[in-house]
């Protein structure tokens, strides 16, 4: 069972600054962390490896400092890691990112399952998983909360929906995105950290990926960010106090007073 996990390094804060020129995130001076949702993806992959054997490969598209995150992935139990890094990849939206990841996965060749986090905490789009599946022409299941079993080239998973969950079977290879309910990620081990320190993490650029220059980075992006801003806090907001009964009563009164009901 060979598993590929897609990771992204994100700013470890919710107070991100936006570059007014490029409308992209300002990363300088902010401690980076592994996107929290991706840590569940990595843990899910490591547990599958422990159960079924095989290999876990962590990949990430990002600047050279993402190497540090990939080493952390190895310290947690990933067998190998590959960094996708090239100036040409800069400014990528989800489409260009998915294309780049898909090129890498195609180059890796041997895989049974690709696991992503449900979304990142910086971009928050949740698009890379499904786009990746589309580009690789693989089945995709989003919001997986449990991997029930893997058998005879089939997987059976639970996926979270509004009211409960669905059980889905799909042939492998496939792409899934996971939610935080799937597991509690482990902490690194001392032996893992030692292994991570000496691990060789190759960096693949556009050339190694044999990528179409027009489909990576800013050039390959179908979207442009025009503006990013924090929503204005509503000045007329009011928080109702008291017991649930009295809150409902005063809410109804206020809605009536304002002619809303």
């Amino acid at each position: 069972m060979d598993i590929i996990v897609c990771l992204k390094q994100v700013p470890g804060t919710t107070q991100v600054k936006i570059d007014p020129q490029t409308n992209t995130l300002v990363r300088q001076g902010i401690k980076n962390i592994t996107n929290p949702f991706d840590t569940y993806a990595l843990e899910a992959a490591i547990r599958l490896k422990e159960q079924y054997g095989g290999k876990v490969t962590a990949i990430s598209m990002g600047p050279p400092q993402a190497d540090e995150m990939l080493r952390e992935a190895i310290s947690l139990g990933a067998d190998e890691a590959i960094l996708l890094s090239d100036r040409a990849f800069a400014g990528a939206d989800t489409l260009a990112t998915s294309y780049t990841l898909a090129r890498a996965i195609t180059k890796i060749e041997k895989y049974d399952l690709i696991i992503c986090g449900r979304q990142t905490i910086d971009g928050d789009t949740g698009q890379v998983g499904p786009e990746l599946a589309e580009m690789l022409s693989l089945p995709f299941v989003a919001y997986v909360s449990k991997i029930e079993e893997i058998n005879n080239g089939q997987m059976r998973v639970q996926r979270m929906i509004e009211e409960g969950y669905e059980v889905i079977e799909a042939p492998l290879p496939a792409v899934i995105s996971v939610v935080k309910e799937i597991n509690v990620p482990r902490l690194p081990s001392l032996r893992g950290i030692t292994r991570a320190k000496s691990a060789v993490i190759p960096a693949w650029g556009a050339k190694e990926l044999d990528a179409d220059q027009d489909r990576v980075g800013l050039a390959g992006s179908a979207t442009r960010v025009i503006k990013i801003f924090f929503p204005q806090r509503g000045k007329r907001a009011e928080i109702l106090q008291g017991s649930p009964q009295s809150q409902v009563a005063s809410l109804v009164t206020k809605l009536r007073e304002n002619g809303l009901i």
């Binding site: 482990r186 902490l187 690194p188 081990s189 001392l190 032996r191 030692t194």
Partner: protein, 385 residues
């Protein structure tokens, strides 16, 4: 302060801190309240290779020494001393094996201890034998193929939870202290049961229990060293383990210092944070001086142990005494700085103060250890090397 730790030691320290902050901090008050042995955390420590730290590489360990152990204990104790001592007691339980065990014994037990699959414990104290360890009454009578253990051990850390016990018992009642031997006893051996679990002032999540031996047969291959070596084994053990108690005390005091500093910066009285009051500043300054001085002594002692120095009784005793007396003072002052809030269980410092008390008592009371220090002083005529 620069302590010239190796890369490996820095890694160990930062991972231990991460475990303490992410896994122990959220549950420490609950563990204390419920007096519940922290099994989930023990498993996290095992998965992170923390039990490998103090075990030689040939038995699946990482080959660290006393200082490496102290770094882990200090970081765990900074957040919760119950967890720290449950961890350190494993080291206590296997030091005799490491020092005097046969290759066969080590191969049999150490890999499982390194993996955290088996916890260990050490048992010498009895109802009638505390500081006067030579007064033990538990006997190990020679029978065909082994020994029959009879007697009761008291206040045994990790009792009931550990799988492997190093027990000191008399193989020859006529020879007093020279008639004691160290035996490895596995949990679930017929005739070995557990008595009451103690309800304690502090370190409440750790397990402290009686061990009861009733015609408990222990095979002869489980003796550590030779018959009659029980007290030599014990003295050597404590010389190596006491810096660990010092580290527990330093961690506790560090935690209390941080809590008191944070509180003093935020608590406003008379229109200013109480940190601006010189009375409070001087208390905190004294606290940080004491903590750092104790840390320096504990680390230096641990390094002396790791250097292979033959006689470290005096040094080990000094590190334990100074650090534990310091922890009692610093945690008490932390409660004082937090005032009424500090006395409440909503804040961690009352627990730290309760936890600190035991460090002055176990692994040799500070009074007994001052005797040890004085004996060494007399031997060396007050000179230093």
């Amino acid at each position: 302060m620069e302590y010239f730790l190796s890369e490996q030691q820095k890694t160990i320290r930062s991972l231990a801190r991460k475990i303490a902050e992410e896994r122990i901090l959220p549950v420490r008050a609950e563990l204390d309240e419920k007096e519940e042995f922290p099994w989930a955390i023990i498993r996290d420590l095992a998965a992170s290779d923390m039990f490998r730290v103090f075990i030689p590489e040939e038995y699946d360990g990482l080959g660290g020494g006393c200082l490496d152990l102290c770094l882990v204990v200090e970081e765990l104790s900074r957040v919760c001393s119950s967890v720290a001592i449950s961890y350190a007691a494993v080291d206590l339980g296997i030091i005799p094996l490491l020092e005097y065990g046969t290759e066969e014994q080590k191969r049999k037990y150490l890999p499982d201890v390194a993996a955290g699959k088996r916890l260990a414990a050490f048992a010498i104290t009895e109802p009638m034998a505390g500081s006067d360890a030579s007064a033990i009454r538990t006997t190990a009578e020679r029978v065909k193929g082994g020994y029959l253990l009879n007697g009761t051990k008291q206040f045994i850390t990790n009792g009931g939870e550990a799988e492997l016990y190093t027990v000191i018992a008399l193989t020859d009642k006529t020879r007093g202290a020279r008639g004691a031997s160290a035996l490895l006893v596995e949990k679930d051996t017929p005739g070995f049961s557990f008595g009451k679990k103690e309800r304690k002032l502090g370190i409440r999540a750790s397990s402290t229990r009686e061990l009861i031996f009733q015609n408990c047969f222990v095979p002869e291959e489980n003796i550590i060293g030779r018959e009659g070596m029980g007290f030599i084994v014990t003295m050597r053990l404590f010389d190596k383990s006491r810096p660990g108690i010092g580290a527990q005390a330093v961690g506790l005091a560090q935690g209390a210092l941080e809590a008191a500093t944070d509180y003093a910066r935020e608590r406003v009285q008379f229109g200013h944070p109480i940190f601006s009051l010189q009375a409070v500043q001087h208390m905190l300054a004294d606290m940080v001086i004491q903590v750092e001085a104790a840390r320096a002594l504990v680390y230096a002692t641990a390094r002396t142990v790791d250097s292979g120095a033959k006689d470290v009784s005096g040094e080990s005793a000094m590190a334990k005494v100074f650090a534990s007396d310091m922890a009692m003072k610093v945690t008490t002052d932390a409660v004082q700085i937090l005032g009424g809030a500090g006395y409440m269980r909503d804040y961690p410092v009352e627990k730290m103060m309760r936890d600190a008390k035991i460090t002055q008592i176990y692994e040799g009371t500070n009074q007994i250890l001052r005797n040890v220090i004085a004996i060494e002083l007399r031997k060396r005529k007050g000179r230093r090397d």
